[in-house]
Symmetry: C2
Subunit: 470 residues, 2 copies
């Protein structure tokens, strides 16, 4: 009854609500933004959420030490070292956790033993000199260990151990000045560290483990496959000739090479270092050739750098104007590279021998040789054509040698990592069906070219000049 | 008397010595290798040695807490937290140390306060439920904080703080179950952390401080200058034409672009993060625009990537065969780029306005426009010439736009960072003397080109096609 009769009320209500909602709108919006980001983080990689739950579980488990009377009686306040160990040592990947556990355990052991020795020496020196002797020892080891941390190899794998060494040595040796229970302190510290570390390891490995090695493996494969996607996306835009009869309806979003170029090295090195700590798991043996992934990664980056100029052509939005034969051969090369890269990525992913990439790589070599012949045969009419096509051809020839190198590196990996060979039935999943089609295409191309190359063979010293554009 | 008479003796001695020296030769050789590496590390950057000595000094200083009776009486065994703080918090750069100190201090404060609150709540719940309530709190905060660490912004600057928060909260709240002296524990921890952190800061800032901001500043300038060196090294090898009359006797070693391409991003980001913690120092204000360095660094990487193909030409060891005019213009562009880059690097290093780079960048634009005209004018005789020169010209045109962008970014930096302008006397140090000479050269080139361009002006729609090669 009141609504229609009193038209001012709702407007006041609304205005009031607006006024109220206006006050905290900024913090609220920010909070909502944070929540959205958190959901995105969890969705992108649900292992993050699982990891957080695992940390919570482990910390709570270790806190139990405080409730268990017999344990507390033995360890006393030292029990808190167990909590500290868990918080500091628990990493996202199994490799990280094992690495930190080993670093912490061994460094504590070594430093405690040496500190006890130093204590003994200081007591032998006698005559009230103990503080000075201990002070000297602490100073010398802190300087030495701090410097050792600058060694690149130490920094990569043992940085944390060095830190713990300085810490434990200092604590144990200076505690010796006050208490006579140094040995008990060192012992209690070691026991609690072992308890904390083993709880960590158990939870980390047994509940949804995250293997750095597996991440590295997938990451390297993903980057190679991303190169393939890049070629796929760009090819469609650069070429619209009739030499390829397929009509591609699904056009993948053009991926950016920047992440491969710039971010990958650090990530791959970190993962390879962590993977080095991991025991055998899944398809990976204990000493899986992780270093080889770094080599493949570095070749992938090289290839990405060589492909980068294509972005320029894309941005200029120009349809290539060049003779059909050249366009067809270049497109062939890009298409074969794409397939070779996809096959290589697939071979890594499935840990099978990359034999299905070989025909594509062979085709690539042919295409690369052909383009060199074609470029010299001056079959184009207009000068301006050459301005457009030669830089692309140069990119293509660079790319071909890069793809070959990646192929070789993946082959090495498949030998070192004892990849299984593919049986006849499952070979080439989607590649095989296309090979037939593409062979036709390249055979047509080759027929054209061979007739051309006979004509121009005499005036070109082909083999000698092969390197000109590379 | 015995030496000559007894010829067998020395040989036995020698053999014995050889035998002995043979046993530990491998470990000895390794030790010698390590020593050599250590000396190299110290020579490359003597600040490493100084840093190690500073750590040793600080750890020893803080250990004094144990000797000072009044302090020990107040703090008791908590004094070891001071040692721990020093070891964990002392970083190479001032920014790193301040960042860790703030993280540790604030996180400890916040976590201790919250843990005391949690303790109070658990006591209020009463009825023997305390352990469960505390356990729940510990679990929830550990899960939440572990997840927050995945936020990229938090990971970059506050990762350590999150860790310390989990640690302190867990320790303080579970300690409350056993002792009734939680507040004293929290207090003692805080005091010792403050003592440790302030000693750290004092030593770190007062004795040979290492500023991350200064490192970032120099590193970005060095990378730009390295690009210049790269051009210098390669130009001499690619071009041996008469258009440049200078005879360069000092040939710099050809620098590798790989380190710029791959390693720089991570390092720059780390340094920029650390620099954000640093107070004003030297020529840098408190809020110096560190983010702008990241932008310049990213443009430098882009330029390096565009220059990378030149390595290929270099490896093929081929002298360019192309008309003099084109070679001269390309060489001009490379030479101007080199000078522009060197001037930009110099401007950053000395924190002066990069005005001396402007004429070079103007010349660059002219050269870039000229090369586009020349390429269309078909003044070359042989087809094979164009195969060689067009890819280089494409690289050149890409490079020119990159150098321009770097110039703009450095200009922005000089405005944001309030760089001082150069007075007339000190302008252009080595650049100025060369500008006169090069202006002549480019004026000659332009005269040639303008006569050419008149002839070909009609058939080229120059401005419309400008983008073709970019």
């Amino acid at each position: 009854m009141m609504g229609p009769e009193n038209p001012e009320k709702p407007s006041i209500l609304i205005r009031g609500r607006l006024w109220f909602s206006d006050i905290p709108s900024k913090p609220l919006a920010k909070l909502r933004g944070v929540a959205r980001q958190a959901i995105k983080l969890a969705k992108d990689d649900p292992r993050r959420l699982i990891h957080s739950l695992k940390v919570g579980l482990t910390v709570t488990l270790v806190s139990l030490l405080y409730y268990l009377q017999p344990l507390y009686n033995n360890l006393g306040a030292s029990a808190m070292w167990a909590v500290m160990t868990v918080v500091v040592v628990f990493e996202f990947s199994v490799g990280g956790t094992i690495g930190k556990c080993l670093n912490r355990g061994l460094a504590t052991l070594a430093a405690a033993a040496l500190a006890l020795g130093a204590n003994h020496l200081s007591i032998l020196s006698g005559g009230g000199n103990e503080p000075y002797v201990i002070g000297l020892f602490v100073f010398v080891q802190a300087v030495a260990m701090s410097f050792v941390r600058f060694f690149p190899k130490v920094k990569a794998k043992y940085d944390y151990g060095m830190l713990i060494f300085i810490l434990t040595f200092s604590l144990v040796s200076i505690s010796g000045l006050r208490m006579n229970e140094v040995i008990k302190l060192a012992q209690a510290r070691l026991v609690t560290i072992v308890i904390g570390a083993s709880t960590c390891l158990a939870v980390c490995i047994l509940i949804y483990p995250v293997w750095a090695g597996e991440d590295l493996h997938n990451y390297v494969a993903k980057n190679i496959s991303q190169l393939g996607n890049f070629l796929e996306g760009h090819m469609d835009q650069c070429f619209q000739t009739s030499c390829d009869a397929r009509i591609e309806i699904t056009k993948p979003s053009i991926s950016n090479l920047n992440s491969i170029l710039v971010d990958s090295k650090g990530r791959e090195e970190t993962l390879a270092n962590l993977a080095g700590w991991e025991p055998g798991h899944g398809q990976f043996m204990f000493r899986h050739p992780w270093k080889q992934y770094l080599k493949i990664g570095s070749l992938t980056r090289q290839c990405a750098c060589r492909l980068e100029p294509i972005n320029g052509f894309l941005n200029s939005n120009i349809q290539l104007q060049a003779p059909q034969e050249i366009q067809c051969t270049i497109q062939e090369a890009f298409s074969e590279s794409r397939k070779a890269l996809k096959e290589l990525a697939w071979a890594i992913e499935t840990m099978t021998k990359p034999s299905s990439a070989n025909p594509h790589i062979a085709n690539l070599k042919t295409a690369s040789a052909n383009i060199k012949i074609l470029l010299r045969s001056s079959i184009w009419g207009d000068e301006s054509d050459s301005l457009q096509i030669i830089p692309i051809a140069a990119v293509m020839i660079d790319m071909v040698s890069s793809v070959e190198q990646i192929g070789d590196a993946v082959n090495e990996l498949s030998l070192m990592g004892k990849f299984k060979s593919r049986n006849g039935n499952e070979s080439g999943v989607e590649g095989e069906s296309e090979i037939g089609h593409d062979k036709n295409c390249i055979e047509i191309g080759m027929a054209e070219i061979s007739s051309l190359s006979v004509a121009i063979d005499e005036r070109i010293e082909y083999s000698a000049d092969e390197q000109i554009l590379i």
